[in-house]
Assembly symmetry: C2
Homo-oligomer: 272 residues x 2
């Protein structure tokens, strides 16, 4: 169990501005700050420049880093001038956080996908923070740790310099998310908004394996774990792990593991 | 940082059955099992009976507890017979889990709300589990710890015996979730599906405070933290903490803390 001081959260909230707003703390905000732009536009200090911040921009400031935020009229996607900016923000700190921060050199801005994983984390942290007399403080602490680690993962997967890598990871996530269902190469490519031939090439280049091969790896991995640890029938396992039919599953399983699913289950069950 | 053995997850998945299905392990499933019914109906062993399991039923089995599951024709909400059952299931274990399990005597079945918090946790655990060669195993581990603690919190908040308590907590969550916006007593009551007078009575009886008082507590708490730790202006803080206007905020703040928001900020800023 973590000690209660290893991560603490001072403020967690969501703000929406439709009036101009300005603030500056040249000596820093004294704690760590994570700020995710979810709607509209604003400008924030990155190094010595005020930079346009758009939805999906995650800003991270350490305690002594200068912070400056300016919300004013910006050109919206409809080409009109309007004051509109929505963001989640968390002020936080603690020993675990100091250690996390010291491990990696992170840029002030990271582009992140505004998906259920990221928005869900911010939402849960805000909700937890609002509970008065909460007997489960560890829940908030664990969510915050996940958000820090997820930030590192995104940083690792989406280096700002290569939109190509970004699309490749987008396809990889699609495969992991949909592995238990059936989908086509076209669906994977469409999810990244590129042609099938470009998708095939990009995936191979980034991960050294093909889309279909990686899909098969994920499915076999799911099925293998279920064979060993779950009490489901082998037919149900094949079906719920994205295989079109049992015959096909049996064939690919045998060619990968050199044994039939049934024999594999028996051999592994004995060890438990 | 947790050791990699303190929580491990063997299988995490979602299954949907529309054909009859039966399984039994009278000696138990050898690991812990959490199974959340999300759709349709089935029957599962609870103690020495096979019991109807409906959406929102969360089942927990420890390693040696008998497990029996039967999916067959049941009467659906439309009054027709059909085979339909959807569930998330996680087989898991580890030292942290053993310790968690030993701390409390939990029933096999807990009624849980199928909301974003619970469904989000299951979804994230399933997604994390599918990643091959994942360099961030702690993320999965933290999500699993949160799910265990969240289960305890639900158990604490929704004792199966009192639907009254369930409705009171539903209102409390509504208040916490919407505190930064403006809402009426009618909205809180409507969320629990009861009349305003019943809502007022039930909330007071369960928590010993009124709905309006609790809402004010949550808002003042949010505002107080922001005054100390965030660089937002006091006007913005009042507005984003659910107060209709600054004059009202100033008045209730002073009556609660015996000082004005501005003085309170100055006094507390000096300490940082």
């Amino acid at each position: 169990m973590p000690t209660q001081d290893s991560v603490h959260i001072l403020v967690a909230g969501y703000s929406f501005h439709n009036k101009p707003f300005y603030m500056v703390e040249m000596d820093g905000v004294k704690n760590y700050l994570l700020r995710l732009q979810t709607d509209g536009r604003c400008r924030a200090r990155i190094g010595d420049k005020m930079v346009l911040i758009e939805p999906g921009d995650l800003l991270i400031y350490s305690p002594d880093q200068p912070y400056e935020l300016m919300i004013n009229e910006e050109i919206n996607p409809q080409g009109e001038l309007s004051v509109e900016s929505g963001d989640y923000h968390i002020f936080f700190g603690g020993e675990w956080i100091d250690e996390w921060w010291s491990k990696l050199n992170r840029p002030t801005r990271i582009k992140v996908p505004l998906n259920e994983t990221i928005l869900g984390l911010f939402r849960q942290i805000v909700l937890e923070q609002r509970k008065i007399a909460n007997p489960y403080p560890e829940i908030l602490e664990y969510y915050m740790r996940i958000l820090c680690l997820e930030t590192d993962r995104l940083l690792h997967e989406h280096p700002a310099t290569t939109p190509r890598t970004y699309m490749a990871y987008k396809m990889k996530h699609y495969i992991e998310e949909n592995a238990s269902l059936s989908f086509k190469l076209e669906d994977v490519a469409a999810h990244a908004g590129i042609s099938v031939s470009r998708a095939v090439h990009l995936f191979k280049e980034t991960f050294g394996t093909s889309i279909m091969q990686y899909t098969l790896d994920v499915r076999l991995d799911m099925a293998k774990e279920r064979i060993i640890f779950s009490p489901m029938s082998l037919e149900t396992i094949a079906e719920t792990s994205g295989f079109a039919n049992y015959t096909y599953f049996h064939r690919v399983f045998r060619s990968r593991y050199g044994t039939s699913p049934r024999k594999f289950r028996m051999d592994n069950r004995e060890q438990i």
